[in-house]
């Protein structure tokens, strides 16, 4: 199935840590005709096997810094829960656009390696 191939290709990117999720979202919404909310849910779930597969190697190769990961995960889970709730109260459109602007700045700095 083509969806599986899309998952495979973006899975490689996700495993590399560069973010296949955005690509997969575009594929799901534009080509597979999946609605946005469902696509988001699938995107989140898809990351489990994609990251799981890659983490075997990352951990084996000792690339994962658990001193960072553990506090980050704990606070991240709390933050995810709070944010998911707050999202229902706030203007998502505005937030999303502000985030988009922020991401562009971050991305440009990464591509051009500015500090």
């Amino acid at each position: 199935m083509i969806n599986a191939i899309a998952g495979l290709l973006t899975g490689v990117l996700s495993g590399l840590g560069v973010g296949g999720g955005t690509l997969l979202m575009v594929y799901m919404i534009t080509f597979a005709g999946i609605d946005q909310m469902t696509a988001r849910g699938i995107n989140l779930l898809y990351f489990i096997p994609a990251s799981g597969g890659s983490l075997y190697f990352h951990i084996k190769n000792r690339f994962v810094d658990f001193r960072a990961a553990i506090p980050a995960i704990i606070c991240g889970l709390l933050s995810t829960a709070l944010s998911a709730y707050a999202a229902t109260l706030l203007d998502e459109e505005l937030l999303r656009r502000l985030f988009g602007l922020f991401l562009i700045v971050v991305g440009v700095r990464e591509v051009f390696k500015m500090s």
């Binding site: 560069v18 973010g19 799901m28 990351f47 489990i48 983490l55 700095r109």
Partner: protein
């Protein structure tokens, strides 16, 4: 590495916690994009090595994604059947990515990440 650094106001562990919280916020609000904040934050703020930052970000996002996924699937009553092909493809994809990871120069990976971040930003700006 010291837990309480004398330089700067925040300890290393606090920085990691805040970094995780930032990623979690993106994850909770938008369902995506958390990883895009993580890597630059880990590299620039916590001074982590490029490659470790990329790998560690995968490790951090995984449980956050799972938590958000559960919320989405339960609240929106989504069918897991729709997700199955992507899951089946994602697993070998992730394995391949994990295997290739150390063979690709970290600078390329960072730039590729940067490109995806820019793209994510542009898509977020559009309606």
């Amino acid at each position: 590495m010291h837990t309480n650094s004398h330089r700067g106001k925040l300890s290393t562990r606090t920085k990691y916690a805040i970094t995780g919280a930032a990623a979690g916020a993106a994850n909770g609000f938008f369902g995506t994009g958390g990883g895009m904040l993580l890597v630059p934050l880990l590299i620039r703020w916590s001074k982590m090595d490029d490659r470790r930052a990329l790998a560690t970000s995968v490790c951090i996002i995984a449980p956050l994604s799972l938590a958000s996924a559960l919320v989405y699937f339960l609240r929106l009553d989504l069918s897991i059947l729709d997700a199955v092909p992507f899951l089946l493809g994602g697993l070998p994809g992730g394995i391949i990515g994990g295997y290739l990871f150390k063979k690709i120069p970290a600078t390329y990976l960072r730039k590729l990440l940067g490109v995806f971040i820019i793209w994510g930003g542009i898509r977020s700006l559009l309606p």
